[in-house]
Symmetry: D2
Amino acid sequence: MPLDLPTAQNSASVLETFARVRGDSEALAKPLSPEDCMIQSMEAASPAKWHLAHTSWFFETFILVPNAKDYSPFHPDFGYLFNSYYNQIGEMHQRGKRGMLSRPSLQDVLSYRSFVNDALIRLVEDADEKTFAAIEPLILLGCSHEQQHQELLLTDLQHGLFQNAMKPAIYKDAREGEGGGAPLKWREMEGGVCNIGWNGDGFAFDNEQPRHKVYLHPFELANRPVTNGEFIEFIEDGGYQAPVHWLSDAWEVINQDLWTAPLYWRKSETDNKWYRYSLFGEVEIDPHAPVCHVSSYEAAAYASWIGARLPTEFEWEAAASLFPLEGRFLKGGAPFLPKPASNPENDDRLLQLFGDVWEWTASPYVAYPGFAVPPGAVGEYNGKFMSGQMVLKGGSCATPEGHIRVSYRNFFPPEARWQFSGFRLARDCN
Amino acid sequence: MPLDLPTAQNSASVLETFARVRGDSEALAKPLSPEDCMIQSMEAASPAKWHLAHTSWFFETFILVPNAKDYSPFHPDFGYLFNSYYNQIGEMHQRGKRGMLSRPSLQDVLSYRSFVNDALIRLVEDADEKTFAAIEPLILLGCSHEQQHQELLLTDLQHGLFQNAMKPAIYKDAREGEGGGAPLKWREMEGGVCNIGWNGDGFAFDNEQPRHKVYLHPFELANRPVTNGEFIEFIEDGGYQAPVHWLSDAWEVINQDLWTAPLYWRKSETDNKWYRYSLFGEVEIDPHAPVCHVSSYEAAAYASWIGARLPTEFEWEAAASLFPLEGRFLKGGAPFLPKPASNPENDDRLLQLFGDVWEWTASPYVAYPGFAVPPGAVGEYNGKFMSGQMVLKGGSCATPEGHIRVSYRNFFPPEARWQFSGFRLARDCN
Amino acid sequence: MPLDLPTAQNSASVLETFARVRGDSEALAKPLSPEDCMIQSMEAASPAKWHLAHTSWFFETFILVPNAKDYSPFHPDFGYLFNSYYNQIGEMHQRGKRGMLSRPSLQDVLSYRSFVNDALIRLVEDADEKTFAAIEPLILLGCSHEQQHQELLLTDLQHGLFQNAMKPAIYKDAREGEGGGAPLKWREMEGGVCNIGWNGDGFAFDNEQPRHKVYLHPFELANRPVTNGEFIEFIEDGGYQAPVHWLSDAWEVINQDLWTAPLYWRKSETDNKWYRYSLFGEVEIDPHAPVCHVSSYEAAAYASWIGARLPTEFEWEAAASLFPLEGRFLKGGAPFLPKPASNPENDDRLLQLFGDVWEWTASPYVAYPGFAVPPGAVGEYNGKFMSGQMVLKGGSCATPEGHIRVSYRNFFPPEARWQFSGFRLARDCN
Amino acid sequence: MPLDLPTAQNSASVLETFARVRGDSEALAKPLSPEDCMIQSMEAASPAKWHLAHTSWFFETFILVPNAKDYSPFHPDFGYLFNSYYNQIGEMHQRGKRGMLSRPSLQDVLSYRSFVNDALIRLVEDADEKTFAAIEPLILLGCSHEQQHQELLLTDLQHGLFQNAMKPAIYKDAREGEGGGAPLKWREMEGGVCNIGWNGDGFAFDNEQPRHKVYLHPFELANRPVTNGEFIEFIEDGGYQAPVHWLSDAWEVINQDLWTAPLYWRKSETDNKWYRYSLFGEVEIDPHAPVCHVSSYEAAAYASWIGARLPTEFEWEAAASLFPLEGRFLKGGAPFLPKPASNPENDDRLLQLFGDVWEWTASPYVAYPGFAVPPGAVGEYNGKFMSGQMVLKGGSCATPEGHIRVSYRNFFPPEARWQFSGFRLARDCN
């Protein structure tokens, strides 16, 4: 199966998207010092500078080198330094040592970005129809790829700065809390044979394809994600100490790493309130906002405690398909915290399906029926990670606007907590 | 959901099963020295003596203590020493240190077995109808549990003895190779909405339930598992060195642990032939027998290399339901190696679905729709392991006869290789 | 420098020593089950069976193979299995996996011992003068080697059995507490140029040689080792929580491994008393007996807390040379616990210099001036371990009688606690 | 024992030293980008920015806070962030996470330095006699401390930049190779009772004290350190593959970490020559310069191979006391590589005793007779590290001029290679 990529946009539209996405990355980096852009706090996270360089390497390697005549790479070592995991391209710098790269400087990386931008624009402008048809889907892929790294840049940065007792505040929270929360309601879904996966409109990743049928049993879905306030009840009821609610792997992790609350949370000994570290500094927990920075283990344990379960990715997608793709997303380099739901009409809609927090599902990340890895190195993009990870749906406050789809499948290991990850409850119909 | 357990057998029949299963464990242990029964070669494996004791602890803890009046446990420390992972029962001896338990001796453990046997027989014989109804399903659960440990006793023992350069031969291969192998054929399956899970006949584990509908797309299934000879072609074509065929996690494991062939395999430098260690000593590889002691990673890599894939557990079960549950299983304490397929009529049947080798599927081990963990400590049996593992189907040469069902779901982490695990290919219909 | 070995004993005397030492090992093993002889609880410890086999391998490899005509090793694999660390002899079984060796059985190892014994006796009886001169020092080396392993057999066994919640009692404490302890007194030593090292009488290891001069400043030495009662005061004064008393490496170890008392110690929550595990089961701590199973880190921390220090090995040896080599040692396979000092005359003698507990010194284990590694594989005996270890002096209750000398240098890493290790205080003269 | 600190310098002289040392640190940092100053490549190494801050914290904590009236620390978090290991001062930032500190910025740290400098100058200028007497020795200690960190800044930086495939060149080698090397000669030393340790002239660390007597046996010392060319012979003779020459700990390290040459060395596959990474980029190995970046393990193995040994620290000091303290040291922020010896007269002097490379000795780092840890947190400076390390003597090309003494004792773990560490041979007299 080839990467299913969109047809026939005109070059101006493609270049507009390209310029916007590239600019957004730089806008995010603007408030950061060169030193902030260096931090790598764990193997799974990368320095901001590395994200800025790697996304450029992606355009250079998959588009410019094969297609732009006389293109000569910006620097002979960058192919080695900024390859992430494409074994078919060649050897690469060790993942856990990205934080060692004081050179190239942030300034050099920004020059690298300009150089690649210029060459790509020239390539598109000079392209004949056949060339354009060949590169257009790859440019869109590169833009989607860069948007993924914008979100990672934020989550990795937050994890890195959290290591610092000074708890730096980097950004200003871009949005005020909209809505005062919404009471929990259950919405029933009928089930039966449903169509799942990308419906063919616009760009999509290979892992959302092919569209296929899935049989669903009737189920109910909560109208909004679990909130901080609800999760605090779980904590205070001894949830983290009760093995009956935890998967075996999870029980091992929480006892070894001494988890007693979501990542970044701290209960103040002075005022007895809960606080969390964020890119806006340490802020008080809003009980009506969706709980965030929990692993799928904690999501499942909460669900067990309350007598419910997580939805499968298919249940989530079937239900979410009924609603418009609206939500609070990242826009123009201005991050914000997950916010409380808003439902003044108090109707039966599903709220906050998109934006605010990614929602853990009960589904391991595996191939759809009929999926095949695309040929070439670009085939390493998604397929080889279909092992040991769980699917998350819906996007978060750090997901760039326009990046997400209802068929979009994000994936992280079940113990990951440094993404903007929350969850919504489901339950079987009686 | 309660454990779905069978109704109304008479007590004589239950005691007959009990006696047979308990006797089989001891028959397997007979050729072993007390020292052989001590070896623990990794955290995931247990000493034979521990298996013999733990299975008795299971009957004692879940049946005798709550039901047998005046029953006093055999030894006050055994509850701590031989609890495997039931957190709701209490604290337990550290899993990785089971090999430290020189005391109780093998002889003491055999006495413990007798003691439990006598008490259980007495309990059944004296039971009124209501008590019998309560304990009968638990006795059958305990028997199935013990059969699982019979298989583990063999695979753990083989792994332990493999650490010894003397390569001890413990048993005599109980069966001659039956059949000279069968050429690869593909059998087409129609798909559609299928019923999956336990059909309600006899005993079954909770994780096979509830029976539910799954939508399958049309697919083809190979008529028999991949053979040793076929797998050697993969090795010799450089399969272990080609990243394109491997999942990302898999590539890390094979490079870190330097895998270049299935577990226990060795290519002789003197005669250039492949050999494998087994409980019968080191034997030459039979090219027509199913490949065994591969991880799901290696199964998936082979499938990628040959241009196919692994079946899902649902595809496997739907196809296998069409055939009788016949195969080469463990019987009466006489183990044997996986054997070549036999198909003299050369017809289109699916061969070796049951017995010989467990077959890795493409399905992560998760709950069936409507599954609920049974209440009480016995609920820790299966549900809490539904994370990070893959489903295997069909049973192996080390699975006790009568233990398996077509709905049976075995599960191991994707990198596990010390079970009798092979695989069968599937592919999409064009 | 050749191994400095004793001259001209007659063969009867050598064979008498050989028979006694070999018999002592078997006497120690007598109360052990084959399973007890299998346990290996850490890489630094070996199973009792392995000790019994390795000591035989030593005689076979260094004496029989090179000297006994027509000698054929007992088993072709034993050279690999029972080589400890002699790289010049060849490859060897992995140290941390000695506990995997269920085969050969204990019975086979005892047969191996007989086989080696018979061959060695025959070799000595048939030896001409030249051959006897060549093998006699190696036989004495082999006997001293075996005595070292007798002590290790006991300490490794205790560590292994300690992993078992049943706390098995293996032996019966062979001696009653002799003496009711002695009050602490300081004995002054003059210092100046002293002679240190083996004085040439009888057998000695290469690491005790050559005898050489050392300059000592005046110092004082405690008349007896620190007692359990004194060490409990340190514990109860918060000694394990006060960083000021601990070496940096030590502070890391006690915080990582959560040390709060000597190894094997436990404070009962029911009677508030201190107990320790021993080969005689768990026994109450005797406040007058020397503290035992402490690391050199704990010894140094105690000394800092009390305002003293540990003696150097040279101070200890210079002082101990003034006293007869008398003490409570292992004899005839009958172990016992360290006992209180006895000093009814209440004079100024140094007590318990020998036997009861090894005494940590402040001296790292390095070569004496003029030391050279003996040629051949036997040169790997001591020299290559002169790195990262500390010297202990005087022998313990588990050191075979006749094995020790005042010049004897035992050595263990500073964090080791599973030997019978205590300490004696020193201080500078004002 | 109090810190033995010098008496009665006038305040102008102290302030001159202070200004020079503080300025030198900043001169070293000048060619570095803020990002270069962030890198931490292992727990044992620190970022340049951290060195710049910690040395200021030292003056602030031990001098300003206790002595300067109305002094208020520059920032409330810096006491936590820049405490290295002084447990008696309080909690501290985790050592291995110093590379996470993007904040404070390099610029902020330079402001911190100015702030501390100003306050300290004011304190000295305003000090009455008694105050000056109290703070003068601590200021000199702080200056020596800062000079130690200047050397570490260079060695840590080199290790950090080495992780980057771009192999950055940071400085320009400040000195041309002086001298064309010198042939190996042996110089005989008589031995007897010698005086060792600080002779009371000027500043010295506590660990060089008290001066005391040591008995030395006659020995010979090489006239210069082992050269690169000589070490290459060892490599090419299979030295790294011959267990007979290696300590047991060393053999484990070289096999686990796959050492086959000194740190930073690489044999080019194109021209078959040896190169090494340095702060001047990758340069060709000079066969006449002293070998550098070897561990004490490699030094000892080379010595065994050539039939010699390493000198003890006492032998080295006794011999070096006969020569003037001259050598090639760091001066004014201009680093250089170790250079060949120069001996045009070809006489019997000992060459390169000081500067160029630190020389590993055979002596573990332990307390001198009569040593006592100074009271207070400053007592954690040296004493608590007297475990598991080896003494090096003489200073290197990265040691600031004026910092070293013949009694100076540097110390590192035996496996450390990232310092400018070489060695000189010794042997016993016949």
